[in-house]
């Protein structure tokens, strides 16, 4: 099914990381794409070599380093940058945005806004108003209201190889969902709509925690029983935390929840999985982060999720243990023992 695009204007992608580039390539099959990167060298090399991150770049993609040019030309923009840079990119973009813009982001992380620029390590409790999903950052920094997000099992490498994959476009607006579907849908990329924007964002964000844990199990050389246990208990934990942060249960049961969770937890290609895997092999967090090419959102998410759960009395044993492994030098083996001793007794308690 190839649907007609709604206008002749190009579509913008902000961020030329591996996921941003993969999305740009999918979009380019239907429309002209402007791909923004902050790095002038990168813009130049994409334009000249038509290859980026070992992937060829579709002929319909034009790289640019001028964010205002992109905003003026494109009504639909996909910001796909790490959560740590998301707010500053939005601040840069915001003066050129109008209420008719549609922003569909693909960032699976959280933003922290603490009064008086305090650091995460200095506080003991945190409220919802201090934790923002990326759609909330967009609303906070710009006049844009037609906001959506992408979430689902989409590992960039597989997408580039035209293997089957799917995504959810979540938004409160039918218009945004329709646009997202029209622009992204093709024979090997399935696109679903969902109205629970916050729920879908949180599903995408929180699954990264479990992905790290899954990597750690693999690193210990454990088998499939352990993984099945982790994924199902991890799911419950995601749902409890997700509910506490304003999502609804169904969002976690679909493509962006279970779908993405299973994928990431089994994928040796995933960054978060890699972090867990290497931790179990004995590398320290700092060494791992220094040698990684792209950001593993899960590390930051563990820290925020743990603090939020503690502040709102949500039981999150996996997150707790991961936090201690990541930031308090707990051994992965000991962490696993702690989890096995944890007195779970009810299987499903969120329905």
């Amino acid at each position: 099914m190839i649907s007609k695009k709604n206008s002749n204007r190009p579509v913008g992608v902000i961020g030329a990381g591996s996921f941003g580039t993969a999305i740009a390539n999918i979009l380019a099959e239907k429309t002209e794409v402007l791909l923004f990167s902050r790095d002038p060298g990168m813009v130049k090399s994409i334009a000249e070599t038509r290859v980026h991150r070992d992937k060829s770049i579709h002929k319909n993609i034009t790289p640019t380093g001028d964010i205002s040019y992109l905003a003026n030309l494109c009504d639909v923009i996909f910001p796909i940058v790490p959560s740590s840079a998301f707010r500053s990119v939005l601040q840069q973009l915001s003066p050129y945005l109008y209420p008719y813009h549609i922003l569909i982001h693909g960032t699976k992380g959280l933003d922290i806004l603490l009064p008086g620029n305090k650091g995460l390590n200095t506080i003991t409790s945190i409220d919802r108003e201090n934790v923002m999903t990326m759609s909330e950052v967009i609303m906070d920094e710009s006049v844009v209201v037609r906001i959506g997000c992408l979430a689902g099992p989409n590992i960039a490498k597989e997408m580039s190889a035209n293997q089957p994959a799917a995504t959810v476009v979540a938004s409160h607006y039918d218009e945004v969902i329709t646009q997202g579907i029209n622009l992204l849908r093709n024979d090997y990329f399935q696109v679903y709509g969902n109205k629970d924007l916050i729920g879908i964002e949180l599903a995408g964000v929180l699954k990264n925690i479990i992905a790290i844990a899954s990597g750690a199990l693999s690193g210990l050389g454990l088998g499939e029983n352990a993984k099945g246990l982790l994924i199902s208990r991890g799911m419950v934990e995601m749902i409890h935390l997700g509910k506490a942060m304003g999502g609804n249960v169904p969002a976690f049961l679909g493509v962006a929840g279970i779908g993405d969770l299973v994928t990431t937890s089994n994928s040796t290609m995933s960054r978060n999985f890699t972090v867990g895997y290497r931790l179990a092999k004995g590398d320290s967090l700092n060494t791992i982060l220094e040698t990684m090419e792209e950001v593993a959102e899960g590390v930051n998410t563990v820290q925020i999720a743990k603090l939020y759960a503690n502040s709102h009395k949500v039981t999150v044993p996996i997150t707790e243990v991961l936090y201690r492994i990541l930031f308090e030098d707990l051994k992965v083996e000991e962490g696993l023992q702690m989890l096995m001793k944890f007195p779970y007794n009810v299987d499903i308690d969120f329905l």
């Binding site: 009504d75 109008y98 209201v145």
Partner: protein, 560 residues
């Protein structure tokens, strides 16, 4: 009383010189044309949106419901031909079965029904009557006020006290006047008492604004005196008995067209009076949606940006004393407690009761303050003095752009609904922000929560059933907690999350005394009393709960 000293009210000149200019006058001069326009628009919409059943089914359901209403729940205000009209429709529908041109006949019947509804809803504003009504209200209020304040029958002819002393207007009055000149104002007040409509009418007059149109329950038109005043003041009629889609669409279209034509409007977005005493925390989206639609329609018809902008102005009305409180809270509790049957008793079912209420209010009422909120566009962005929408970074937003897709204004009902929902959330936030905390609200809140904490094992209903004699607080304990809670309020005020009445500051003993003497002061059973021995007690826990609810939504409960 302390709040008396908060300053003399300013006198505002009318913003439009002659009533001829008033949008509502222009509307009533073109009444016939207006009704035709409404009928046509409502017809088009109803034909377009088929909710999964045929027009015939729609007509039959409406007919059935209307006949049921006539039989089960007739009112004095219903027209004489009510029965014959619907009976005729019935026969026509029967005759249509099997007929060839059935669908065009059905459309004709639909048109007739819509037109009948539109005629019924449309107001009958007459400026001569408006002036007379206004003078009568003013004169009456003033006399009553003086008789009671200064005392004695003779005082009825004195002019010492005026309504202005009794009702304080706070907040963005000046901006409201400006906005009413620049565009069309949709005023959305909180709703606690039947007095609200009269009060707001008075405020609109005091501020020098032209009359606003507002939807008034048709039941109020059963009362002759009230019907006269309300028609004169620009009311249109809303019949809550009629819940069929044809009626509702016609009603919404009336509101939309009137706003689009520039008539300033007033809705109580909570729908009915707050039963619980809480500030509204969810709003009815139907009428708000008509403002959204009107704005989009204006933008479509004025591609050059010269159409009138619509401004939403939230208003809160703050009372120490709500006459209906004991009944309202009883209603609320029995609903919440899921009692199967309860009879809604209308305190104002006759002219006599209404007058009695007004006399009671003016002979006994305590001070009232009305807070006027910041004007906003339909997306909830604040507007500046020139009516420009401003974003949180101080940049100007063109409201038109919210309705644009692919470079032009586009009709997208789902989007409009979502915008309306967003707007309603912002109005709720603004209500809480401009709400003025009175000492009476705060003492009620403190006492209720102290008792609730003492009986923390009971759920709300069991707690409310406790015998009042068991509930006693030592003044010293009360004072300590009161001061803490007041500090929280001041912090909220600093964070711009609430407003505070002037009398709340200062010596805590005086503030507490003001609060206790004022809270629900004229109920036969007082919500709070301070005995000579320094004990705080209550005679009516339900009513105390009602007044305490005013402070709901600020997350203050966690302080207990």
């Amino acid at each position: 009383m302390k709040s008396n000293q908060e300053g003399k009210q300013k006198i505002y000149k009318p913003i439009l010189a002659g009533t001829q200019e008033w949008p509502v006058v222009r509307l009533s001069n073109n009444r016939k044309q207006l009704i035709e326009q409404i009928s046509e628009e409502a017809f088009q919409k109803l034909i377009k949106v088929q909710r999964g059943h045929s027009l015939r089914e729609e007509l039959e359901t409406t007919l059935y419901l209307e006949k049921l209403r006539i039989k089960k729940n007739p009112w004095a205000v219903d027209p004489e031909d009510d029965y014959s009209f619907w009976n005729k429709i019935k026969h026509e529908l029967v005759d249509l079965v099997g007929s060839k041109d059935a669908s065009s006949k059905e459309e004709e019947i639909l048109k007739r029904i819509i037109s009948r509804y539109a005629n019924e809803i449309a107001g009958n504003f007459k400026k001569s009557r408006y002036k007379l009504a206004r003078e009568i209200i003013k004169f009456g209020f003033k006399r009553l006020l003086n008789a009671t304040r200064i005392g004695g029958f003779k005082a009825i002819f004195k002019n010492q006290y005026t309504l202005n002393d009794k009702i304080q207007i706070k907040g963005k009055a000046k901006q409201l006047r400006k906005l009413a000149k620049l565009g069309t104002v949709v005023m959305v007040p909180t709703h606690f008492s039947n007095l609200d409509s009269i009060l707001i009418g008075w405020i609109i007059h005091v501020l020098g604004l032209p009359a606003f149109i507002y939807g008034a329950g048709l039941n109020l038109f059963n009362i002759r005196i009230l019907a006269y005043f309300m028609e004169s003041l620009g009311a249109y009629k809303v019949d809550r008995r009629k819940k069929n889609p044809i009626y509702l669409e016609t009603l919404k279209t009336y509101s939309k067209v009137a706003i689009e034509e520039g008539a300033h409007s007033l809705f109580f977005p909570g729908g009915t009076r707050s039963r619980s005493g809480k500030i509204e925390n969810s709003l009815k989206l139907g009428l708000l949606g008509t403002a959204m639609e009107a704005q989009r329609s204006i933008f479509t018809r004025h591609p050059n940006n010269d159409g009138r902008k619509i401004f939403v102005v939230p208003v809160t009305i703050n009372y120490n004393f709500v006459l209906e409180a004991p009944n309202l809270i009883k209603n609320y509790l029995s609903r919440k407690g899921q009692e199967r049957y309860y009879v809604e008793n209308d305190e104002y079912s006759t002219s006599y009761k209404m007058v009695k209420f007004l006399v009671k209010f003016f002979t006994k009422g305590s001070n009232i303050s009305v807070s006027i909120g910041h004007g906003m566009d339909l997306l909830g962005n604040y507007v500046d003095g020139d009516g420009n929408s401003i974003d949180t970074k101080g940049r100007i937003i063109n409201t038109r752009h919210y309705f644009v897709s692919n470079g032009e204004i586009a009709v997208d009902e789902q989007r409009d609904q979502e915008y309306t929902r967003k707007l309603s959330e912002i109005i709720v936030r603004e209500f809480h922000r401009i709400n003025r905390v009175f000492a009476s609200h705060l003492v009620a809140f403190t006492a209720f929560n102290l008792w609730k904490r003492q009986y923390y094992k009971l759920d709300l209903y069991d707690f409310l059933r406790l015998p009042e004699e068991e509930l006693v607080i030592d003044y010293a304990d009360f004072r300590e907690t009161f001061i803490e809670i007041r500090e929280c309020i001041f912090k909220l005020k600093k964070a711009n999350k609430v407003e505070v009445a002037g009398h709340l500051k200062g010596n805590p003993d005086e503030v507490i005394l003001t609060g206790i003497t004022n809270v629900g002061m004229y109920h036969s059973k007082r919500p709070l009393l301070l005995s000579k021995e320094g004990k705080i007690t209550t005679q009516d826990l339900n009513t105390l709960y009602y007044y305490h609810n005013r402070m709901d939504g600020y997350d203050l409960e966690k302080e207990f």
